[in-house]
Symmetry: C2
Subunit: 368 residues, 2 copies
């Protein structure tokens, strides 16, 4: 069942998944499904694509193994639920799917699912084994990201076309499902994409019309970007050849956000090629910027034990093993502080718009 | 300094606040500022307006009281920071303002502010004592709410005008600052406003074009609505005379969300008239709907001790002392369960769009 090629038609994939089980039953075999192992033991950093990728290890889930029976049934239910969504032409949230599947099994006083924690990982199992995306199974999460700048976005299923320079204070809300069938690009005049970690900074840049002066798109995922926002970044780079610059806090969390945008994540390694953008560059903030931009020391924040431990972990990830990143992380540990983007406001509310970002971009002062 | 009338010009209010202190200094008096007390001891439910209102109690903050000195200085800094924002014609986030004010006091190794927890309540102090809104002091929070439906919204400061039926999957992002100067209504054809607690339900209703079939606006605050969303609800009702229906989970948190939309909150009682909408009605979900709509019992969730305690608290709030609400809360305690809106999906993904909401609205089956 584990597919190496991305399947074209998820409905067909789901049907084959079901047929495979029926076939085994007809042969009076113990029904068995193979699923890719999705943890640190089965991922690797692919040096060619520069992405975190899923390895070949598979695990088996069999019906007549009491430790697997419940999960086996639940996995089949998730697959069947997704097939229904595709057939009905509706999308829904992963929470909604859980409620839709939850019921008491007739004659037994047992629930199909107790909590959503049971169903969410099974959705990822189905995604990984079918080599498809949750979005193609008609499942979405909460809408989160925003975008502003010179591009027009068409959404055929809503029959809308929006010029993203004309969406007001909140900008264009990046849909949770951001696939080529549902979100299409028109008339992009931007020369690059700037991604900022926080909504407050995004609002500052929108108010100052940074996107107009620098002819770019400005996006935010409001913290760790959701899948829709990461897919949008990936597509803006791949389809429109736009350079991607990421601007996050100078702390382990900000660096991690960048790393997920760039090479994907361990948990979702099976979709790194869709969600990761290895060509992304880190514009800042760094602890080295404190000296470079004469940022007052009193707006820095002392590292705590968690920060120090996590910094060591980052140093051990193969994708952070680059001279400039090692320098920055070691510098952070040496000076013993971190700082947030808002710290730049201690110089002037518009310092980030008028000095910091333009200078960084002009001098191409990026981390790889 | 405590103003009973809402001030017209917040800049003037801030200047008078400063002049008052200077005057006291010139008279060689101990500088003193009076601030409204903002807690349960100084709020009341106003039976005429049906809003939670701030009482008359004031506290004094004096400079030559060592317990007050630091806070006195900080309050003056917040007032001065806001005046600068208004003068520069920029808005910023409350976090940004904190960083902008944070610095080491020359000659003393002491910080003006240690954490944002020190500055946020002082912003509310200034708001309450000037009887203005944070938004008028040019401060915003993170953008949160969404809206879809037949209304056009003009934002003069961004020179944009958007037909909210044509914004795609994410709809119109309700700005954090939603005052008549920045957000203006044009061509509203809607007959009512439906507010749903959760984004997932909002997405369901948008995908099903509920707003088109029922000629209404559909909004969500994604959990507890932010101030921008509450202000939008208040203005849609007061300026356009639209009925407001609220749809939340059948649990103490959902009921509380409704209560905040309707009569304001204790903490922000000084702006209840701007943020509260006493004419709002509660459409559902209720625990009594389980029988009414034959919702399977297995999608209900058992009440925990926290739920039971909070339900008792709700029963004690004067604004929940209405027969129908007492019945519902007591019914919840009696059956011992709560349920989320997604529970309706156990019947059918589109049950909420096609059956539940239309029937509730048609039969005007609301709680007060």
């Amino acid at each position: 069942m584990v597919s190496k090629e991305r399947i074209k038609d998820p409905k067909e994939g789901l049907e084959n998944f079901g047929k495979d089980i029926v076939k085994q039953l007809e042969k009076i075999q113990n029904p068995d499904m193979s699923l890719p192992v999705r943890n640190l033991s089965n991922i690797y950093f692919d040096d060619k694509s520069k992405l975190i990728m899923l390895g070949d290890k598979v695990s088996h889930r069999t019906y007549l193994n009491v430790a697997h029976t419940r999960k086996f049934m639940q996995t089949v239910m998730v697959a069947s639920g997704c097939k229904k969504l595709i057939q009905q032409g509706v999308t829904t949230s992963i929470r909604d799917l859980f409620y839709n599947m939850k019921h008491t099994i007739p004659k037994y006083n047992e629930e199909t699912f107790e909590t959503q924690e049971e169903s969410d990982p099974l959705i990822e199992d189905i995604e990984a084994s079918l080599n498809t995306l949750r979005e193609n199974l008609h499942l979405h999460a909460e809408q989160k990201g925003s975008l502003v700048g010179p591009i027009t976005i068409r959404e055929p299923s809503f029959d809308t076309e929006n010029d993203c320079t004309k969406m007001g204070a909140s900008g264009y809300g990046i849909p949770s499902i951001c696939e080529p069938e549902t979100v299409q690009f028109r008339d992009c005049k931007a020369e690059f994409v700037l991604i900022v970690e926080k909504d407050a900074i995004w609002q500052r840049l929108n108010e100052d019309r940074f996107w107009k002066k620098h002819n770019c798109l400005v996006m935010t995922g409001k913290g760790q970007p959701d899948r829709g926002t990461r897919r949008m970044i990936n597509r803006l780079h791949n389809e429109l050849k736009l350079p991607i610059y990421v601007c996050a806090d100078a702390d382990v969390w900000g660096f991690y956000i960048y790393s997920v945008i760039k090479q994907g994540s361990i948990n979702l390694s099976f979709v790194s090629d869709r969600l990761g953008t290895p060509q992304a560059k880190y514009l800042g903030l760094t602890t080295q910027d404190v000296a470079k931009f004469s940022i007052p020391k009193n707006v820095t924040i002392k590292l705590n034990e968690g920060d120090k431990k996590r910094a060591q972990e980052l140093l051990n990830y193969v994708w952070f093993k680059k001279k400039d990143w090692e320098n920055e992380i070691k510098h952070m540990l040496q000076v013993g502080y971190k700082l947030e983007l808002e710290a730049l406001s201690s110089k002037d509310i518009r310092f980030i718009t008028e000095k910091y970002l333009p200078q960084k971009i002009k001098e191409e002062d990026f981390l790889p």
